[in-house]
Symmetry: C2
Subunit: 204 residues, 2 copies
């Protein structure tokens, strides 16, 4: 490290010496964006947190982005208009990219209903850095569960543009993996994802 | 972990089990937001990267947010208007908070010229989670160095609202630490910060 004063006219601009590669070495695993998509109630957040639990216990550096930590903070200024929903996904994808660069396994759990927006997210990353996980559960099952009571409200017209009711959900055509969350147990779903991450060399 | 199907009507909603505390335990250090503020050319980015280098080599999980990774991504839609500069800092602060929660030592290197905006950033965090580092260098020195050639352009009127020339810089009144970057060497500046982090129990 140089001991020159910052103010020295001949000080070389200090470029970043710590790279994603070095951070991955420190964490002893590759980083990746695990992008969960699916209807409200399809189990995205549940599965993301269960996978994080498993990854953390094996020593991985992880973080989950979901409505709980993004809606009132980074995206607290956004409405549910089409333009704002698009901007919401754009910001989340960009934050995902920062965590990727930080060497963290980042899991995002948002409905992200539009193919175009998910493609924009994917295009931000290098090939192999973005892993789309489709939590596929029928709308009937999601509505029957209605964990947050949102479907009931949407049916009553209290929530405009509710995905699956009054706004479309565009299912992924080629997700990296599809989890039938209304058929597979949580434990098996996590195991399936772990096996995929091993196959792709993210985990050892 | 439950082996119930996600779709079971009696499935308990899976709350996050991995907390900041657990992530800090994994990383073996506390997380903190190190907020560098100062004029363009005062050495914020240089010092932040040098500190990151030192922290990384001692095994800390770190990340630097600066213009290089934020300007064209997360904040790529923002201009230099007053409102957008405010929004820029708001987003950076919120991303900093996410990294804090992720157990990472996050270093932000932005001019962040307005006290009010830095206060908003500080108020987002708990007491002790936000550490303001004032990179204090005279405008004469910054302009003389002019590493990026921005002062020259600003003097020519090519950059409106340039901090220190055509827009004010509100120096911190009570920074957690002030580094006189036109007097102290880079090595000594890093050492000073490391000592402060140890005193505050962030590092052991």
């Amino acid at each position: 490290m140089s001991d020159k004063k910052l103010s020295s006219s001949n000080t070389v601009w200090h470029h970043a010496t710590i790279t994603r590669d070095k951070r991955e070495q420190l964490h002893q695993h590759k980083s990746i964006v695990l992008w969960f998509t699916g209807l409200s109630g399809s189990g995205k957040s549940t599965l993301a947190h269960a996978l994080e639990d498993r990854l953390h216990k094996t020593g991985c550096s992880t973080y989950v982005l979901d409505g709980d930590n993004v809606r009132h903070g980074l995206c607290g200024d956004l409405t549910f208009s089409d333009a704002d929903r698009k901007e919401n996904i754009r910001r989340i994808a960009n934050v995902g990219k920062l965590f990727l660069d930080a060497g963290v396994i980042i899991l995002t759990a948002f409905i992200s209903p539009f193919r175009e927006d998910r493609q924009i997210a994917r295009n931000l990353m290098q090939h192999g850095d973005f892993f789309e996980i489709y939590c596929n559960s029928s709308i009937e099952t999601c509505e029957q569960r209605d964990v947050k009571g949102l479907y009931k409200k949407a049916r009553q017209g209290a929530i405009p543009h509710f995905t699956g009711i009054s706004s479309p959900y565009e299912a992924p055509e080629n997700p990296d993996i599809e989890i039938k969350t209304d058929q597979l147990s949580l434990e098996d779903s996590v195991e399936l994802l772990i096996q995929h991450l091993k196959q792709r060399g993210i985990l050892q």
